[in-house]
């Protein structure tokens, strides 16, 4: 498994870019297993509000994180046009609900910038870096480790 960063042939990093509430985000392509359309999920009792539920991924039970709710944009009402990005991180398979996947982009170290110091925005803790492009576009890079609930958050 690719742990942190995957390089393409040109020595750049590849990212999957997706849209969420009119903002562009991205995630390292090495963490992404597949992208599928939204299918209704089974509600998990006592789950945090950003857990949309669990879906059947070829026989495995996979939780879907509503990125919009997690990043503080408010819960989304998924339709068939929404996508679930299936990721594998630290041995756990997690689905991320996004509005739409826009692109696969390559970026090198020069384009990466740290996140500017902002007031405490809920999105701030899940974004680990910014990728800038010459045309002015900005991608916000998401940190998977922070997205899932910690064991304390899941009531036992």
């Amino acid at each position: 498994m690719l742990q942190s960063m995957s390089y393409n042939a040109a020595g750049k990093h590849d990212f999957i870019a997706f849209k969420l509430a009119e903002q562009d985000f991205c995630i390292d392509i090495g963490l992404v297993r597949e992208i599928r359309g939204w299918t209704p999920a089974t509600v998990v009792p006592h789950a945090p509000d950003y857990i949309k539920g669990v879906i059947n991924l070829r026989g495995a039970v996979v939780a879907v994180v509503d990125l919009s709710a997690r990043l503080g944009f408010g819960p989304s009402t998924p339709t068939q046009r929404h996508v679930v990005i299936i990721t594998l991180h630290q041995g756990r398979v997690v689905g991320l609900l996004a509005d739409l996947v826009s692109d696969i982009v390559s970026a090198d170290e020069m384009q990466m910038q740290p996140v500017p110091d902002l007031a405490a925005d809920p999105a701030r803790e899940f974004i680990t870096g910014m990728i800038t492009f010459e045309d002015g576009r900005i991608l916000r890079k998401i940190d998977l480790a922070q997205l899932m609930p910690t064991p304390q958050e899941v009531p036992v």
């Binding site: 299918t39 209704p40 999920a41 089974t42 509600v43 998990v44 009792p45 006592h46 789950a47 669990v54 879906i55 059947n56 070829r58 026989g59 495995a60 039970v61 996979v62 939780a63 756990r92 398979v93 997690v94 609930p149 064991p151 899941v154 009531p155 036992v156």
Partner: protein, 691 residues
Amino acid sequence: MAVPDDFREMFFVECGELLESLANGLREMEEPGYDKETVHAVFRAAHSIKGGAAAFALTALVTFAHRFETALDQIRSDRLLPDARVMAVMHRCSDCLADLVGAARQEDEPNTAQMTALLDELDRLSGEDKTGFGFVPLALDLSPPVPASGLVIRFAPQPDLYLSGNDPLALIHALRRLGPAEVALDASAVPLLEDWTADECHLRWTVTLTGNIAPEVIATVFEFVEDCCEIGISPLSADSLPAAEEPASFTPVPILLAVESAGDPADETAIAEPASGPGPQAARAVAAEAGATIRVNLDRVDRLMNMIGELVIKEAMLSQVIDTVGLSDNLDVAAGLDGIRQLADEIQDSVMAIRAQPLKLVFQRMHRILREASEATAKPARLITLGEQTEVDKTMIERLVDPLTHMIRNSVDHGLEDEVTRQRRGKPAQGTVTLSAAHRSGRVQIEVSDDGGGIDRGRVREIAESRGLIAPGTVLTPTEIDQLLFLPGFSSKQEVSAISGRGVGLDVVRREIMALGGRIMIHSVEGQGSTFSIALPLTLAVLEGMLIQLCDQTMVLPITSVQETLRPAPSALHGIGQAGRVVANRGDLIPIIDLGCIFGLRDQRASLDDGVLIVVETDSQRRAALHVDGIVDQRQVVIKSLEENYGRVAGVSAATILGDGKIALIIDPEEIVLSCAGDAGLVPRVLSANG
């Protein structure tokens, strides 16, 4: 290519099997009129362990196995009588050997004290000097004389020989070291290149050895490859022909089989032994039995299981689609679909059968547990096992070891009386613990029974009262008193004993059994003994469930905990205070739990006019009526882990995938009822004292 670590692991896996057959054989030897072949099998097991250990330079193991093997050889050659005293030592040797193998596997220091003590005892038994034994290469003059002045060995390797890393050249070299040899290759069976497949063997060799060599010596050369090649040994005679002119196929000459079954002649202490024992037929039968199994990684079976789960789901989806497009009336389509469904069911059953393993694997280990417990408590005891062929899921086998170990110890320590008491009661001095297993109405029933004194209910009650587990003067039925044994913190022995009083009681056993989806019950007759029965589901992978509707969700309730379903008359419903509701059912008041509220699917309690009440009973005998919107179906569901990718959810034990591909959560009634016990109140029966 396999790395050395793999070989090492392979050796230990094999050791496990050898140790098992060794312990088995020793037990058989205690039966009157045992088969001589049993002794040979035991001897061979010890010898193979020694051989493997030497390859990995496990010195302690080699030394001990060697000494053990020597003693076994004395039994084999009737120089040592296997009486009870000798067999006791042999059993302890087998235990010690298992410990040494375990230590070597963990790369721990072997327990030399235990080993030295046993070695001394072995010496005393055999009355021989230790220095007389060492690794002496096989001396030819110890072998029985053979009339022929030479031998013709025909040797045809099979693919397994190469797969197991053996080299025919090395074998031929070994033969040549025995005497002047003529080697001829028969390549006539080699096909044309276009018909040739790389993993088939077409070469045969004929080695003509001259000199006075016993066929047994030849057998030792092929000792480790005898299963994976054809070998024929015949005395050299004038009309022996070179291999190239031999017929393409030949059958092994009986003499070798006889030699094989007579044991392993490699041992330097072996005296001349007639090649008797079971005939070639028997030897072949044994070989066939051993060859009929393969070792498969459990992951592969699990993957297969998962895919079949998928197949079942896809099949259900397909039939739904066919329904919606209105093709279900078409007879051909319906017949085809039925065929697929039947096949899928059969495949599912077959794969589950692969996962099933005989309980023998656990039962065998219990003999040692009993032996140790019997020694530690100085109560002579024997273990009888029945129905060891009963099969249960592999995972279950592993998780049964601890509870059964504890129960066997408990039976010896607390169940059986001491020798004096037994004699006074007119029972045989040796106590009997019976471990039995059988399939009973879709479940596996395991029983541990002893012929001891039975449960002294007066004392149990006294102890429970003194520990504050029950209020003094509580009215209890005998069964309820027996149940007290399962309470945490209950130990009926005054002093903590080394055997079963390790601060864990039967409550731990019950928890383990419940975790496996089983139940445990006690049946005891004072003066005659007690029986603990465990009822287990056949598999952990599938569960018989009741599909229920709850708001817009479908959930699954394990059928084992469901007692009945009710649509109560309004007169049977009673409110208690602001929140409590109970239903009167045949004289019992059962608290009602609204599942929708418990799972946070609705904020307001649903009206009891709608929906159904499902009465569940937990393993701790608590009852509750779960209020659900409706019952959809009853069917077998494949259990899927929720924790693997998400985490634990309160009140939910696992998940499953329904026919439409959606996930349904499997409810854990035990947890639901326990979590509600505080506010719902009215928990019947005495066990509430345990809260």
